[in-house]
Every structure is written in C-alpha cells, then in structure tokens.
Subunit: 381 residues, 2 copies
Amino acid sequence: MRDVVVIGGGMTVFGKLPHRTPEDLGREAILAAIEDAGIRPNDVQFASWGTVYGGWCIGQRMLKEVGISGIEVLNVENACASGASAFREAWFRVATGQYDIVLAGGVESMTISPVAGKLIPPPSDDLDGQLGLTVPMFFALMMRRHMYEYGTTLEQFAKVSVKNHSHGCLNPYSQYQKELTLEEILQSRMICDPLTLLQCCPNTDGAAAVILCAKDISKRFTTRPMFVAASVLRSGDYFHRWNDVTFSDMSHKAAIAAYEMAGIGPDGLDLVELHDAFTVSEIMHYEDLGLCEKGESGSFIDSGKPWLGGDIPVNPSGGLLSKGHPLGATGVAQVVEVWRQLRGVAGKNQVEGANTAMTHVLGGYVSGLESGAVSIHIFKI
Amino acid sequence: MRDVVVIGGGMTVFGKLPHRTPEDLGREAILAAIEDAGIRPNDVQFASWGTVYGGWCIGQRMLKEVGISGIEVLNVENACASGASAFREAWFRVATGQYDIVLAGGVESMTISPVAGKLIPPPSDDLDGQLGLTVPMFFALMMRRHMYEYGTTLEQFAKVSVKNHSHGCLNPYSQYQKELTLEEILQSRMICDPLTLLQCCPNTDGAAAVILCAKDISKRFTTRPMFVAASVLRSGDYFHRWNDVTFSDMSHKAAIAAYEMAGIGPDGLDLVELHDAFTVSEIMHYEDLGLCEKGESGSFIDSGKPWLGGDIPVNPSGGLLSKGHPLGATGVAQVVEVWRQLRGVAGKNQVEGANTAMTHVLGGYVSGLESGAVSIHIFKI
C-alpha cells in the first residue's frame, strides 16, 4: 500500500440552509477543496461521495458543477458514517495505486430532505423502533446506565455540551456560535429523561470535500501534506453480544485496529474529532477509544483534559453538538477540521502544536446490531 | 492486481412482490449465493451492496439476517448501475489483495419504495425534467432520431421486446413468463410516441448476490470458477458533447476500456447482458458496444444474431424488459445470469458453449451529463 496524504480541504458553513440545494452546497465545498489543494478540476481521477438522503448520483450531480465529468464516481452510504466511508474509499483507491489524485466529499440537506422535521424513521425490520424505541430514547437508556454503573452525573454529561458549544463559538464553520451554560443545557426541553434538547445534535445542512493524493507526488502541491496513518471501517456485531450498553464494542475494536495500523496509541494523539451525536455518545467514546479508563469519563471531562488547552482536546471544531451533523458530510468535515488543525491554520480554535489526530464516526441504527458502521481514521503531519 | 473469480451466485425470482421487504429479498439472495459457493457466512470478509431506495445501511440490515456482522460493509449507489458498482467494489477489494472472499449484492423493492407507482422524480437541478422531459420521453426522442438517421423501423425496435420476452419465458427467475407478438408490442398503450408500454422495462422487486474470491484459493470451493477479465466504471461527460443522441458515448468509451483490459474484442464474446431499459436502449447499445456497425442495429436484430441460438445472444436472461429491473439488483443479477451461462447450467435459456460474456449497465439521468454512471464487466471461464 502506498502512502496517501491529504493536500486540500473545504467545507460550507454548517447550518439550517433550506434555500440551498445539495448541488449548491457540494459545489462550494468541492471548489474550496480544489482551490486549497492547488489542483485543477481535471486533475481529479476518482471521486467518492457520501450522502444518505441526497438522491441518486449525488456525486456526479455536484462534480459536474465544477467541471468534473467522465471519471469513476462512487456514491457511498453508511448512515452517519457515509462521509467517512467515502473518505476511506478515496484513500483506498490511492493506497492501492489505482489513482494518484482523488476527491472525497459528503453532503446532506437535512432541512429539505424526505425526513426534514421528522424523527428518522426506523427500518422496516426494526420492531423496537416501530414500537417506539427511537434513537434519542436509546441514548437516554445508555445515559441512565452509565450513571448507575459509574456514578456519572447529569452535570458531567451536560459539560460535554458546554465544552463543544464553547469550541463551536471559535469555529466560523460551526452551526451554533453561542456559549451555553450548564443550567441552560440541563433546563432545556426534556427529550427523553434525562436527555435534554441541548444534549442532542441539531438538524444541519452542509457539505465538505477533501483532496487526497499519493505522497510521492504531493510535493507538487504542498510542502505540508497530512498523512493518512490509519483507515478502518467495520459494521457492528450482534446486539446480544453487547452485554454492556455503556460500551461501544465496535468503536473499541475499530480503535484498536486503527492504533495498530498507525503505530500509535491514544497517548500519541494530539486531538480527536469524535461522534458526539448526544452528550452520552462523547462520554462513552472517551472510554471506547482509550482516551480515559472505563467508567472514568465523568472525571475526565471535569479534569479539563478534553477541552481546548487540555491534554487531548476532543471536538475542537464544536463537534456534532455545535458544528452540526449533516449526515453524509460529517465524516469528511472531521477530516477538514483535522487538516486545518495539523497545519496550524485552524484559527481561534487551534490546538497548539498538534501533529496527530483521530476522527471517529459511528452510524446507522440497525435492529439486532450494535450499529451499522463505524469508521476511524488517524492522521499525522 | 490479483486474478479474481466468481464462485457463487443467487437471486430471487424477480417480480412485483410488495409483500416482501428488502431484508427478506436480500436474505434469500445472499443465502443462495453462499450455498452455491459452498462457503460459510463467516468466510465473507467484506460486502458491498447496491441500492437506490433501500434506505440506510441496507447491506448490514440484510447480511445480519444470515449471520454476517462485524465486517467492512459498503453501501453503494449509482442509480441503475448501483449493483454493478457494488460488484466492482467487491472485485477491487480482492484484486488489490485486501480481502480473499467477499460478497456483492443488490436489492430494490420498487413496489414499496418512495417512488412506487410514480415517475422517478427529476433531481432538483434538472430543469428539463422539471419542465416535463421525463425519462421515457427522452428515450422516445432517441428512437425517432435513430429512425431518421438510419432508417430503423418501428418493427425493428419492437423485435427487441419480442426477443427478450421470448428469452424471459425460458428463465424461471424472470418477471414475465409470456411470449409477446410484434403486434401486441406495437399496439400496447402509447407512453411517448413512438415508445409503447411493452417497449419499457417494468417496475420490479428483487435481489441478487454473488461471491467473489481470489483465484488462487478458489479451488477450495469450485473446479470451475468464472474469471473477472475486466471491470470498468465511468460517469458521463457533458451533454453538449453528445452531438449524436443515437450514441452512448460513455458506453462506447467504457466498452473500449473493458475490451482492452480483458484482451478480447466484441467478436470474442459469446453472450451479452446489456441495459435494455427501453427497446431503443438495446438497439443503441448494440452499436455502442461494437456488436454491430453504427446504424446497422436494425438489420442486426432482423438477422437473428442477438437471439438465443444466434451468433451473439443478447439478454438471454430476458433482460430488463422481461426479467425485470430492480435498480440496485440489476447489475448483480446480470452477473448471476452470466455465472449460470458460463458454467453451462442456465437451463432452457442456455447459450451453448459459452465461455465469455459481457455485462453492461447504464444509470442515472443527470441533467447536463449524458448519464450518471456506466459499468461494464467481462467474464471468462
């Protein structure tokens, strides 16, 4: 496998943008990535594109807007991990020597999608979902169990949202540019006890794109490429094996595989962008990814370590809670954030001296399985 | 790149099956493919799955039904070429040495999909579509132009449907098991002059799956594997370059690439499964793929060459017109047909002595481009 690097990235500002089509969002992200990489549109030899609700041939529809046609295009779906799966596809095409310069992107227009304003409908085979076990309810159960098992407090969960909204205010691409207090979060509308509204990620529209190329030709474009040190994609195992609902077994297994592939452990990471769809998700993933010991994420968030300025900032972009979560774009936007961070051009939310980073995204509630897909990438500069 | 072979395939009977979920259809196809290959479910190391309207994590949802979980799963969308794109992904994973045994599948439940009973809606950026240039209308225009340029007759177009329905009667997996006369076809309801109802593919539900593995381990499973000699996927170029609407430039380019990769030309093919969404599609693709000279497809169909028993049978399965067209499954079902044909176990529609075959599928009306995607595979036994 060849060394693969990221040489450019771009994204739209995330937000509620019902006046913009997916094509419009995608075009902006693609053009930004191409300009950032210093390539021309016709340098792109392959493109993979993530979306859930974007409709058919979404990649082709947006790429043609910037003058890219006639190449191999693959549209990829893995629920919330769609963008990360598209990134992996692009990485894989270069790593195996098939292509030299490729594009990976993702888009979602949640506010004009078929599920706009609705709970995401359970698949036809999901009896629990049909009977009312919606996604927020499920995460509320995890929250309760984490409190019971480890003494995690309501305040510790809410602090994740305080932190990520605080980070989001420093990121001009973030959907929310507003600090939130612990009280505001705890007292916001109850969604499913004890999960309140401001502990859930919002509906978001947006797009992101990155350019990858073979390391040996990257000096044509940049003196500071970002190396893809690990790429992992897994589906979930059967739920009945998931004896502990406070633990994402599939995230843990994917992290172990990624650390092995990259040759570094959690101690070697300078920052992490992880899947904080709900505050409890981030609390659990601290442990799944080995950022702290099992059961200690409450004291981990209290310690300040995952905050900007801390030992290992988590979601310096604002994460899904504040930056927003346009499903197909999320995994690619995480890479765009990391690309800015590792080059030291992130601006106000810069993690000083960051040289390594991990992105993690989990997606797709699938009845019987822990989840549909998890994807982890590790980057070095 | 390693040699990759197909060692098993399975599919459901195609038809209008609104009482069956995608999971139900997928399970049947996956089990059939696994049994045919003589592998166990946990031998499958990677799966790619094609669908357009199946909803999120469709592959994971069906694979878990047969005991496959925890592996890398990629859901792939490229409109009508979704299944072929999934097949290519699976081939690519083995060819590059990433995995040894993989599964590719596709499913569509058109009769219970969000577009059931409707015209497929034009994308938001498709002004022509919004103004009424629907897909059948577009193909009717091609038909008129082919008649004008080359003197192709209404009878010659209709003969494609006679042929494919005749073939479909011999295939127990085909949606329609009924011979049609030239008169019935020509006198069926007018959809868009001169395109009549029985010259359009039907709405279809169904699933198909195949097992691929590295050639060097295939003798564990079969003494007669089918070699993937070529795999090509391309998107369309800009429409303004398409100076001739009787010509699929992207199919032609993909065919040239596939012939080069396989080291054989159209004369070396024993049978072809091609994208006959409308009779005019098959007429055009005879020429695009080099099965006959440009403009001579009318006399080609008259000559009997593309019929079972002819020089180069086209769509011996019945094709999309008679076997049916469940979008995400179509590209994989073509491979299942070819797998039966090249082993000589196709039954009543067997092409005697077939050793080589091509599959071709084109998909995704995209405003501004000729089409979204084309995929061609060539197989040898």
